[in-house]
């Protein structure tokens, strides 16, 4: 099929039902010198070609014309509306045929002057683009990078809260950098929004990314630094990392300024160490996190007191956590009670700690059980998939031939860990 003009393109887009043929033809059309201006122009009768196309049914044609238009004329109010109707209406299956054009579309979208609006459109697109919402694509990374760059973290939340869990390299090619950067930027957003639990998870994902040699990526090292500070903020101490993360990260942190800082946290001379190591913290752009950790230090100290005492007077608390000003202390204590960091009552000058007794409603239990069952099903499915897979069968066959034992040992740690996880899951159930 040979396309010569915009009219041809529109006709093909509406009539050719075979996505493979259409995408081939359009890709061929793009090779012409005037392809982009042609695509961006109006029809001969001055009609808008996009008005003739349906975003859902003619996704490919719509994408090609829209993308061209982004580059040629600045986006007017009409274009923005078209963009939104496209991202809301496009067909996932059809997009899978033209990943290159999608990438161009996304990068051009981000060059628009009203980038904040475009980011909202992109947030919708990112979730519609892959065939399943939990599939990770390179577009995820581009989107998040822009979000961090323009500091619009709220827009990123719907995307981030939908954790990626799958990879389909055949349709959505990615590199290890895409993966690292996506989680790194995601952690940025969560840190900015002070969602520490999520930030911790994302940073851990960066650090946990598989590495082929003993040399981690610089992104991973930076993430590890941030992770250690987030641990301090969340737990008051650096937690040990999961077993599958190479020990070199924990070692590197221990010897660094971050290790020094964590050593005195929260009861020691936190402020002094922070000042001493300020240069490093500044250079790593982590001074904000460090400050946050310092602000949290008295709270951590106070929390340890709840485990030791039943009642304490404010004066005693002030002495223990080294805070002389009683008004600040009082407001700190009141705030901690309010947001539930400690469960206690403040009467006059005496703080009485109450044992935390969370109430479990039957509904909660049922939900927990349902979650666990869902997990279990997922794992069972995966187990079957692995059981069917070529690699596994080959290994199992070899295993049988060599009389067992050797195969497992050669299979390496990954499977072993995996087996542990499954048995842990079963034990929990």
């Amino acid at each position: 099929m040979n396309l010569a003009s915009l009219e041809d393109v529109v006709t093909a887009a509406t009539t050719v039902s075979d996505a493979a043929t259409l995408s081939m033809a359009l890709k061929a059309f793009l090779k012409r010198d005037v392809a982009e201006p042609t695509l961006a122009s109006m029809l001969a009768n001055d009609q808008d070609p996009l008005a003739l196309l349906n975003p859902l049914e003619n996704t490919i044609g719509y994408l090609f014309i829209l993308t061209a238009r982004l580059e040629q004329s600045g986006s007017g109010p009409g274009l923005t509306a078209q963009i939104f109707s496209f991202v809301e209406g496009c067909s996932t299956n059809l997009l899978a045929w033209v990943p290159e054009r999608v990438n161009t579309f996304v990068s051009r979208l981000l060059r628009q002057p009203n980038v904040r609006e475009m980011l909202e459109a992109l947030a919708i697109f990112v979730q519609r683009y892959p065939h399943s919402r939990d599939v990770f694509t390179a577009v995820h990374t581009v989107f998040l990078q822009a979000c961090v760059r323009y500091r619009v973290y709220q827009v990123a939340l719907p995307v981030l809260n939908n954790r990626v869990a799958q990879i389909d390299k055949s349709i959505y090619p990615i590199t290890y950098l895409d993966n690292l950067l996506y989680h790194y930027y995601g952690a940025f957003a969560f840190i900015a929004l002070k969602q520490w639990a999520d930030a911790e998870e994302f940073l851990e994902m960066v650090v946990a990314a598989p590495i082929s040699s003993n040399i981690p990526s610089a992104i991973q090292m930076e993430a590890m630094k941030k992770l250690s500070l987030v641990h301090l903020i969340r737990y008051g101490t650096i937690r040990s990392l999961p077993k599958y993360i190479p020990p070199l990260f924990a070692k590197a942190i221990k010897q660094s300024s971050y290790g020094q800082f964590a050593k005195v946290y929260p009861a020691g001379q936190v402020q002094q160490v922070a000042e001493k190591e300020a240069k490093t913290f500044h250079a790593d752009f982590n001074i904000g996190l460090v400050k946050e950790a310092i602000d949290m230090a008295p709270r951590w100290k106070l929390r340890t007191l709840t485990k030791t005492y039943l009642t304490l007077s404010l004066a005693e608390i002030g002495k223990e956590i080294d805070m002389a000003d009683e008004t600040i202390l009082r407001s700190l204590v009141e705030n901690m009670i309010q947001i539930g960091e400690i469960s206690a009552t403040l009467e006059g000058d005496t703080l009485t700690f109450i044992d935390e007794k969370p109430n479990f409603r039957p509904g909660d239990i049922e939900k927990a059980l349902a979650d666990a069952q869902e997990q279990c099903q997922k794992l069972a499915k995966l187990d079957q998939a692995v059981g069917r897979s070529r690699e596994f069968l080959q290994k199992a066959l070899k295993d049988r031939d060599t009389g067992g034992g050797g195969g497992w040992a050669a299979a390496g740690d990954e499977e072993m860990l995996w087996a542990e996880e499954i048995s842990a899951q079963q034990a929990y159930l």
């Binding site: 927990a368 666990a372 996880e421 929990y428």
Partner: protein, 473 residues
């Protein structure tokens, strides 16, 4: 060995976090000057008569002199006496000048110039003779004689205070050992030297070496079992003692207590040179009380045949153990305090007394609180003979490190055991574990997918060479 350094107790780690710096400094000072009075008796003559009048005894005396000014004149004059029996002129002069410094001019002791001249002449002659002999042996290539020559020279330098050279000769003799008994001998020589120097870090190396040699000697000695075994036991006892002392010296109290329990009865002279039986009783008991469970105390300490022998040497130690087993902790602490002078004036124990006493007290506090649901801090203080403030502080520290499961009502001064609702606890734990596993699974699955797709962090290409450079293998 010019002057003895004042022993600073290694108490940095047991300093109370909440105590202001000032108190910890003053307590450090009080640890270095030991008060001996009616309440804290110490009999210098009886103590030092446990040891042979050799260099290590002088070291003990010097230590006592530096730790307790009141005992200094007596200790130093004794040290001078002992030094005159030895052959080290330098040591004699050191003792004498230390003595002069303490007593002042009116009670001055004349310098025994005649002894000095005679001894240094003899030392020179001995040294020449031994060195010539060694040279001759080396020339004749007779291994056994060379070994003996080195040994003799080692002994010589040791008695004259040159430990480094002594160690060199002892180590050198190793090359000429022809059987495992010689190796054991060499190890024992070195161990004695190391222990005198209180150089504990290397002790274990030589103990292991000697034990291996001892085992090697074992099979051959099997035939004449009855004759060789006491000999072997003697060596084993010495090695156990060396090990125990080195563990104590390195503040590894838990292992030290087990090591002390093992020491056999026959120490063949070391009980008068390295550590007296009463020392072993004290060290062992202190370590055991600080680290053992009640059950272990009964089985390992009270029912141990060899250690009972040592315990007999120091009856008050048995009193302490009996009081501890009967949960009369006040008596335990009182006895420990009463004999603190004896403990603090001990060269080897001094720097550990504070840590051990604290550990014993803490352990006792935990034991005492065990059966109670709540207890008034006053009565707890009463039971231990402590002040209420001290008690609260100790209890708080113990709660924080997790030894006591309870909380302090600071307002009413009551320690309450944590009231655990197992059902709720279970629910909390189950849901928490569930969530953790779910999230771990999610992360792991994703990681698995990454690996499957071979999306793996690769080292930059030009880094390849650099990495080779950094790791030559």
């Amino acid at each position: 060995m010019a002057t003895l350094p004042v022993q600073e107790p290694e108490d940095a780690y047991m300093e109370d976090v909440y105590a202001p710096d000032l108190t910890s400094k003053t307590s450090k000072k009080s640890a270095t000057t030991v008060v001996v009075d009616e309440e804290h008796p110490f009999d210098l003559d009886a103590y030092i008569s446990n040891y042979e009048p050799d260099r290590s005894a002088i070291k003990r005396l010097m230590f006592i002199a530096s730790a307790s000014p009141a005992l200094a004149p007596q200790a130093l004059s004794k040290a001078v006496d002992y030094a005159l029996k030895g052959q080290d002129t330098q040591l004699y002069q050191n003792c004498l000048s230390a003595y002069m410094n303490v007593v002042g001019s009116q009670d001055a002791m004349p310098v025994d110039q005649e002894w000095l001249d005679k001894t240094s002449a003899k030392a020179q002659a001995d040294k020449d003779k031994l060195e010539v002999e060694l040279k001759m042996y080396t020339g004749n290539m007779i291994k056994e004689s060379v070994r003996m020559g080195h040994n003799e020279l080692g002994h010589f330098y040791r008695t004259h205070g040159d430990h480094a050279t002594a160690l060199r000769h002892y180590t050198k003799s190793r090359e000429f050992c022809t059987n495992s008994t010689h190796v054991v001998d060499m190890c024992l020589n070195i161990l004695e030297l190391l222990l005198e120097e209180q150089n504990y870090a290397h002790v274990s190396t030589y103990v292991f070496k000697a034990e291996a040699a001892l085992d090697a000697a074992g099979p051959g000695a099997d035939k004449k079992k009855s004759a060789s075994n006491p000999e072997k036991d003697k060596v084993q006892a010495k090695l156990d003692l060396a090990m125990a002392l080195s563990l104590l010296g390195q503040s590894n109290y838990d292992n030290a207590s087990w090591a002390f329990m093992k020491i056999g009865k026959n120490l063949d002279g070391w009980d008068r040179r390295v550590a007296a039986p009463s020392d072993i009783a004290i060290y062992g008991t202190m370590c055991a009380l600080a680290t053992f469970e009640r059950r272990q105390l009964k089985s390992a300490l009270l029912e141990s045949e060899s250690f009972s022998y040592y315990l007999e040497q120091e009856p008050y130690m048995r009193e302490i153990i009996d009081a501890y087993m009967a949960s009369k902790f006040r008596v335990v602490l009182q006895l420990l305090d009463r004999y603190s002078a004896r403990h603090l004036l001990d060269l080897q124990l001094n720097q550990h007394v504070k840590a051990l006493t604290k550990m014993i007290k803490d352990r006792a506090l935990v034991l005492y609180f065990g059966p109670f649901a709540s207890i008034r801090l006053d009565s707890l203080a009463e039971a231990f003979g402590l002040t209420p403030e001290e008690t609260e502080k100790s209890v708080v520290t113990l709660i924080q490190d997790g030894s006591i499961k309870g909380r302090v009502d600071s307002h009413n001064k009551i320690l309450k055991a944590k009231d655990l609702d197992h059902r709720t606890e279970l629910f909390i734990r189950a849901t928490k574990t569930g969530q953790e596993i779910a999230s771990a699974n999610r992360k792991l699955l994703y990681r698995l997918r990454l690996q499957e797709a071979e999306i793996v962090v690769k080292p930059p290409k030009n880094l390849h060479l650099e990495a080779m450079h950094n790791y030559p293998l």
